[in-house]
């Protein structure tokens, strides 16, 4: 009820609300809505008219009340803050005066959502990529899509997951697709792949094209485990952690070991990582640039805090799993 709980109105002009903008457009994309619905979303969130133009066609303009506005001309439209979309169209919002805090983010997500939507409708390679990794598509539908992409005869295909804003950084059929944890870019590659340094990526398990949904699911888990220290995670090297990840996602609430880690300060996490990864106190001390006796003292204190000793073989395994679970517990795709 509008008056009892509020109705959707434009976002705060001053405060940035990135998460709201992202989740709004992600929901629309996941629901497979059309371009006009995306424009209505941009219009209602910004409180201004939103438009889209494809070269040579009359622009579409939607007012914040959802009403279609007169088309206008390309020249009139060109004065507004706008963004090119990867499908060759242009989207804009008709903000008079100073930009509001969320305008740029709305435009970015609108452009991305329009590109995905028009790729789906155009029945292009993008759409085939989405189908071939989708576990909800029928096997026959996936087989057709795989054939379109000429993947059907290959025994080794892997799905690689990137954050959606990353351009297609490695060669191969690619698309931005909706996942249950937000948008992600998928690129389909062969047995090996080189990811440029510093880019976060998750590489899915290897297999024939009909197993791409599994590869994609594992790539998403790998992406969520990636960090600036280890930007590229290969699902093939995760072993049973993949199973743990599936179980953790089903469980919903974070495991107490993960919660305990998340509560530690960054420096303590660093010491823990060094101790667990380096294998010896001396090696850890050199990584951290600390005296080994100080590292020893920190490790003793952490053991008390965690309730287990990450220097013992069992404790180390428990710590590695807790670290993975803490990474997986982050919202979205990490």
């Amino acid at each position: 009820m509008q008056e009892l709980v509020g109705r959707l109105t434009a976002l705060d002009p001053e405060a940035s609300d990135t998460l709201k903008v992202v989740s709004y457009f992600d929901t629309l994309v996941a629901g497979g809505v059309g371009v006009e619905t995306l424009l209505r979303g941009a219009a209602v969130l910004t409180g201004t008219t939103a438009g889209r133009a494809i070269e040579g066609r009359a622009p579409t303009r939607i007012a914040p009340d959802g009403e279609r506005a007169e088309s206008g001309t390309d020249a009139e439209a060109s004065v507004w803050p706008s963004r090119r979309t990867s499908d060759g169209s242009r989207v804009w919002i008709e903000r008079e005066g100073q930009a509001h805090a969320n305008d740029a983010m709305v435009l970015e997500r609108l452009a991305l959502a329009v590109a995905i939507t028009s790729a789906r409708r155009a029945n292009t390679a993008d759409a085939a990529v989405e189908v071939v990794v989708s576990s909800s598509a029928a096997p026959a539908e996936r087989a057709v899509a795989a054939a379109r992409l000429r993947l059907d005869t290959r025994d080794h295909v892997r799905a690689v997951a990137f954050h959606p804003d990353a351009a297609a950084l490695v060669p191969g059929p690619n698309a931005v697709v909706a996942t249950s944890r937000g948008l992600a870019r998928v690129v389909l590659v062969g047995r090996t792949v080189d990811v440029p340094s510093g880019i976060l990526a998750g590489i899915g398990i290897d297999g024939p094209a009909d197993r791409l949904p599994e590869s994609w699911a594992s790539a998403l888990v790998a992406l969520r485990l990636s960090t600036v220290h280890q930007p590229v995670v290969d699902a093939a090297e995760l072993g049973a952690v993949l199973l743990v990840a599936e179980a953790a996602d089903r469980r919903g609430e974070p495991h107490p070991d993960a919660t305990a880690l998340a509560a530690l300060d960054p420096r303590t996490r660093e010491v823990l990582d060094a101790v667990a990864d380096a294998g010896s106190m001396r090696a850890a001390a050199s990584v951290l640039g600390m005296h080994h006796s100080s590292v020893q003292a920190r490790a003793d204190a952490i053991t008390v805090q965690l309730g287990y000793d990450p220097r013992t073989p069992t404790g180390r395994t428990r710590y590695f799993l807790a670290r993975a679970l803490a990474a997986l517990a982050r919202p979205g795709l990490g």
Partner: protein
């Protein structure tokens, strides 16, 4: 809560809105929350809205149930003369919250479009004033409106009743009272996702539990406030819970709409079916993927626009506009 069933998916555009409003909008309202919800400023801007739309407002104190004072507000276009259609409005709010201006924006559209006069009634709320206060206050308001039709500029043959949610249930109850007591003849009843059934026994109530808007818990809270220990027993009148009426003949034509993903879906559909079974006229719309009150919360959405347009078209036909 363990027996929640699979439910129709929300329309994606509405789901996106729900995601944004989720912070300020708990799906489940419990009795302890009633006081807090009443403190929230409800329609702060009603006078701004009326001024902006050129609508005049006149508050009148009239006798309610048992003769106690209640207020009605008369709304009409500025400078309106002559006689025309009348709309008697019963507001929503689960029988427990809200005032006579809840949902008025939709009515203002009709005042403008059909040059109608609206009388909206400040009925007393449960649990302080349990059944029959709300429905009897509303009926008293209708009687007053019909008796003063002349001075209000209302053509008594073109008087309809309209309400949303609890207001829809009250509108249905008042229509039954008018039929059974030989009261004012209504030209139509607009039952906007009406709250009709206290028994908490439908499939849709089990589907909308902990999700969406005005879920199963909220609904039990509303009916519990209205009926107390009588809720879901044999001791509930058809005027309090119109879904309990077994004879819906002799009623004015009804317009009923709702979403497919709301608690009221099944009782609203059943009410229309019973009207048809009893030889009456009803128009029913179930909007796919709609949650309760979606047209108010997301008026820009495609489904909301279709819903309001469809409803307005019906009102236009009934009022002979």
């Amino acid at each position: 809560m363990t027996d929640t069933l699979a439910r129709p998916p929300f329309d994606p555009e509405l789901e996106a809105v729900l995601g944004l409003l989720a912070e300020s909008l708990p799906p489940s309202i419990t009795p302890e929350m009633i006081t807090l919800m009443r403190q929230a400023p409800i329609v702060a801007s009603v006078d701004d809205l009326l001024v902006a739309r050129g609508i005049t407002r006149r508050d009148v104190t009239i006798p309610g149930h048992e003769g106690a004072d209640i207020i009605v507000t008369v709304l009409a276009r500025e400078g309106r003369t002559g006689t025309g259609p009348g709309i008697f409005h019963t507001h929503g709010g689960g029988m427990i919250i809200g005032d006579r201006f809840v949902g008025i924006a939709a009515i203002v559209d009709w005042i403008e479009r059909f040059d109608a006069v609206c009388v909206t009634v400040e009925y007393r709320l449960a649990p302080e004033f349990p059944d029959p206060y709300p429905v009897e206050d509303c009926y008293a308001g209708l009687l007053w409106t019909a008796e003063h039709a002349d001075e209000l500029g209302i053509d008594p043959t073109r008087l309809i009743i309209a309400g949303a949610s609890a207001g829809g249930g009250l509108a249905a109850g008042v229509s039954l009272l008018a039929r059974d007591r030989g009261g004012p003849a209504l030209a139509g009843q607009v039952l906007i996702y009406p709250m009709l059934d206290d028994r908490d026994a439908s499939v849709s109530t089990r589907q909308i539990d902990g999700v969406g808007v005005w879920d199963r818990t909220s609904n039990v809270t509303g009916w519990g406030a209205l009926l107390g220990d009588r809720r879901a027993t044999g001791d509930v009148s058809i005027y309090a819970a119109p879904a309990r009426a077994t004879d819906l003949s002799g009623l004015p034509p009804a317009f009923i709409d709702c979403g497919s993903a709301e608690v009221f879906r099944d009782e609203d559909v059943a009410y229309a079916s019973q009207i048809w079974a009893d030889g009456g006229q009803a128009e029913l719309h179930v909007w796919p993927g709609g949650f309760h009150g979606f047209d108010m919360m997301a008026p820009h959405a495609a489904l909301s626009r279709s819903m309001t347009e469809t409803r307005t078209n019906w009102v236009g036909r009934v009022l002979g506009a």
